[in-house]
């Protein structure tokens, strides 16, 4: 028994030390978000201005978050799902209709982005951050680079290029270069895209997600298909690497803020969404998380250099050519089949 005593003492001390402070009388805003996706300073500012406490919980995939909320978990005031999950949540009646009068900063939202969303009128969701897929390349090794998916047909870089090991992204790239929709369910269009990817496959080293970006820095690969957030991190370390969005357009993902049914502080949640889209707060958040927010006024406040960074901000004229990847339900099987054929093609 004596051996237990120190453990119990340690436990008690730990609980006392860790649970000290913070009165619970304040209002609490509970946010369910991805890790490292807010600016601590902006959150602190919100807490002071609204006399509340912000508690952030994190999830690691839209699917896991959705499974949990669908099973009945409640208590979150704001959730930050990706657009395709927002649509599922709207269809299942899991979201509260937003009151635009409480979010005057909606006027700052760039409609070019909102237009891409199914909930384009922002009745249930407000776009928060945007990410795109594009091409990371080494200009020293690829002097004649033009931002186009056709680079993957160029045999002079055979074995030095990689495509994403993701069926929707890679088939999406081929669909875009054929001028079809990324979300097509037309068999003939998919067949054409499949054959194009098989042509790409002859020139690339592999389908990959994580290793390839390292290869870009070490010189193993010259052209890498990847997410802008990932490649931006690479560029910070290896400034000789460049990122471009193909002129045919690409896939885009928009993470949105929504208020789930069952939220306890609906007013405070509206206030938070409005606060985040206050230009200066939004600009501070963008600089910290290194993603683009579709907030026109906030973008104006950013340093020139950051605004010109194509790995964060897609060129204005390209946005309309981008599409959001939608959940296709049963038609997903068509993509899986095409992808299997690509993987087994010689």
């Amino acid at each position: 028994m004596r051996k237990l005593i120190p453990i119990v003492i340690i436990a008690i001390i730990a609980i006392i030390v860790f649970s000290s402070g913070k009165s619970e009388t304040q209002k609490i805003l509970r946010i369910y978000n991805w890790a490292d996706y807010v600016s601590d300073d902006v959150i602190k500012k919100f807490e002071t201005e609204y006399h509340c406490q912000v508690v952030i919980d994190t999830f690691d995939s839209n699917e896991a978050m959705l499974a949990k909320l669908k099973a009945g978990a409640t208590g979150y005031d704001i959730v930050v799902p990706t657009e395709y999950t927002v649509n599922v949540m709207i269809d299942d009646g899991m979201l509260i209709k937003l009151d635009p009068a409480k979010i005057p900063n909606l006027k700052n939202i760039d409609t070019d982005y909102a237009k891409l969303m199914r909930d384009g009128k922002m009745e249930y969701s407000v776009p928060y951050m945007v990410s795109v897929t594009g091409i990371g390349y080494n200009p020293e090794k690829v002097p004649d680079f033009t931002p186009s998916w056709s680079i993957f047909l160029n045999e002079s870089y055979k074995g030095r290029m990689t495509l994403l090991n993701d069926m929707r992204e890679t088939l999406g790239a081929a669909l875009k270069s054929l001028n079809f929709s990324i979300n097509t369910t037309n068999d003939a269009e998919l067949e054409e895209a499949k054959n194009l990817v098989i042509c790409y496959k002859k020139n690339i080293a592999k389908f990959d997600v994580d290793e390839a970006k390292r290869g870009l820095v070490t010189g193993e690969f010259f052209v890498v298909h990847g997410y802008n957030g990932d490649l931006q991190q690479i560029i910070e370390e290896a400034p000789n690497i460049k990122f471009a969005i193909p002129e045919e357009g690409t896939s885009m993902a928009i993470d949105c803020m929504v208020i789930p049914v069952g939220a306890k502080n609906v007013d405070l949640a509206h206030a938070f969404i409005n606060f985040i889209h206050e230009p200066e707060n939004c600009a501070a958040t963008m600089e910290e998380v290194c993603y683009a927010s579709p907030n026109t006024e906030a973008v104006k406040l950013l340093p020139e250099e950051f605004r010109q960074n194509e790995a964060v901000f897609p060129k204005k004229e390209l946005i309309a050519k981008c599409e959001l990847i939608e959940d296709l339900g049963d038609d997903n099987a068509k993509y899986t089949k095409a992808w299997d054929q690509i993987k087994s093609a010689e």
Binding site: Y37, T58, A71, A73, G75
Partner: protein, 259 residues
């Protein structure tokens, strides 16, 4: 006779596969590079980020509270269960054994989602309490199994002897049984603690607003955020674990000398 070199090779292989990754993580945590890989210089920036990140600390606090509470409760309940299973052998105990054994083999995801549905049905608010209950429910099984093993070697005639010499049942339990079982209970407790602090699947489902634990936070960080901070965090956890293990070994050693 020439000795086989196989055991030696196996030992080396096990040591390499077990400890080398830990060494690697430690080295990487000091790498200035943001995405791992090539060494770009010694840096403490990930530790700085880690120690200034309020979210990490909140997650750590939650993890420790749940870990300590579920360890202590499952130590008590597990020991009592093991005792009952050992002393009485009937149909009821067979069923009891089956029930205790089940959580060891049920997949985590099944347990997580069913606990969540259960809590939702009872309208219990998800919080650290629900995580603790979930953890206790699987930790009990581990503690019971360990203590049960210990009981099988236990010679109950010492208990009879104590009672013959005038000790009442409570005194005999307190002065004889408990000290002799303590190493088993403690081992079960340590096992429960480690299982509790690194459980992800069950915790993810039964955690509510404000009760994100460290594993849940780390998973999200891996998908979205800065992986090097995870390296730094792992090294800190590693250091804490080593200190705890050393301390428990020191305790065990001291215990033997007293006996």
């Amino acid at each position: 006779m020439k000795r086989s070199s196989l055991p030696l090779l196996t030992t080396i292989a096990v040591l390499v596969f077990f400890y080398f990754p830990l060494v690697l993580v430690t080295i990487e945590s000091f790498n200035a590079s943001k995405y791992g890989g090539p060494w770009t210089g010694f840096s403490l920036r990930w530790y700085k980020t880690l120690f200034t990140d309020a979210e990490v600390f909140r997650a750590l606090k939650n993890t420790l509270i749940v870990g300590v509470v579920s360890t202590l409760v499952s130590m008590v309940l597990g020991t009592v269960a093991a005792f009952a299973l050992h002393r009485f052998k009937g149909k009821l105990q067979a069923a009891h054994y089956g029930l205790i054994y089940l959580p060891l083999v049920v997949p985590d995801i099944l347990m997580g989602i069913s606990l969540l549905l259960f809590f939702v049905a009872l309208k219990v608010e998800l919080s650290l309490v629900t995580i603790s209950i979930a953890h206790i429910s699987f930790c009990i099984s581990y503690v019971t199994m360990v203590v049960l093993g210990r009981l099988q070697d236990f010679d109950f005639s010492v208990m009879d002897a104590a009672q013959d010499l005038g000790a009442d049942r409570l005194t005999a339990f307190r002065k004889i049984l408990l000290p002799l079982l303590a190493p088993g209970i403690l081992a079960g407790g340590l096992l429960a603690f480690t299982l509790s602090i690194d459980d992800f699947v069950i915790t993810f489902f039964v955690s509510g607003p404000g009760s994100t634990t460290l594993p849940v936070y780390i998973y999200s960080m891996m998908k979205h955020g800065s992986p090097p901070v995870i390296n730094a965090l792992s090294v800190v956890l590693l250091a804490v674990t080593f200190v705890l293990v050393l301390y428990s070994q020191f305790l065990n050693h001291g215990g033997k000398e007293n006996a």
